[in-house]
Symmetry: C2
Subunit: 173 residues, 2 copies
């Protein structure tokens, strides 16, 4: 084997590991992040078997993980004329990936919390009671922050890539 391809193989391995670790630190199943990483660096769509073999995971795991990735809008199924097998392909556009992840996590995790915070902000109590006052202040403050984050993500999701790269810079002048 050539040295260059050795290096590339090692680098790919390292990327898959790093992506898996980052995912698990942020509440995303390690295997799911690794399958995503593998597809991100694969020029061609891969079959379930190729993914199973490369990552040493079972058929069941591969199948469910791929279904999840499709549910997150990060991967698509492809079919080839005259072939039964299914192929899986990841969107390689990093900006799309970021937007998609932001969109899903907002919907799945942030929005439900904002709903609860709205309810809790409306709980009435004795304006003299420090227990009530502290509760109320923390809840309303967190609610405001969460809504700001929500609005920011919403704008980001709708925005074009060029906006993002330009706007970050402007933001800090």
């Amino acid at each position: 084997m050539l040295y260059l391809s050795m290096e590339l193989a090692e680098a790919k391995q390292k990327f898959i590991e790093a992506w898996g670790k980052l995912g698990s630190e942020w509440g995303i199943n390690r295997t799911m992040a690794q399958v995503h990483a593998l597809l991100l660096i694969s020029p061609e769509a891969l079959t379930t078997e190729e993914i199973m073999d490369t990552l040493s995971i079972s058929r069941g795991n591969a199948n469910m993980t791929l279904r999840d990735l499709i549910g997150w809008g990060l991967v698509e199924k492809q079919h080839r004329a005259g072939e039964r097998k299914e192929y899986f392909f990841a969107d390689k556009d990093t900006w799309n990936v970021a937007k998609q992840v932001a969109k899903e996590r907002r919907k799945r995790e942030l929005d439900p919390v904002i709903k609860i915070l709205d309810e809790l902000s409306n709980v009435k109590g004795d304006g003299q009671d420090p227990e009530y006052l502290t509760f109320h202040k923390s809840v309303t403050d967190i609610n405001k922050l969460a809504k700001n984050v929500d609005k920011t993500l919403d704008t980001m999701i709708k925005a074009e890539e060029s906006w993002f790269w330009g706007s970050i810079v402007k933001m800090f002048r």
Copy 2:
């Protein structure tokens, strides 16, 4: 018991649960998020015993969780004249809390990944090889995005609260 205080007790419970759930979805230990939530809505500093009792957790768990929260810069130990007991108090300023969490996660998780991405961006390969080209493009794109996020967090961490609330709005004009 009065109806109003019943409502408050329920609301507190709900807040602690919601915060714990959000934490665990984002890779933060559920108990740690719950202890933090409890301290956030407590006007006075609490003892280990009070926390143990309120959340039904063991002494060992409470002790280690509080140590972690202190390590995250979210909670401080307090002492009272003539008392052996230690009291724990959470910073109630939501903006500080957000900055602190951003700061720690950036240091613990984002920076190490950027280091790896820098290495992987420098892996050389055959410019004709689609395997190499796809790997290289994904890695460098993700690296750029990660560095942008890093820079944004850095600015946010150094910024004042007023900047945040004002700037978000300006950002979207």
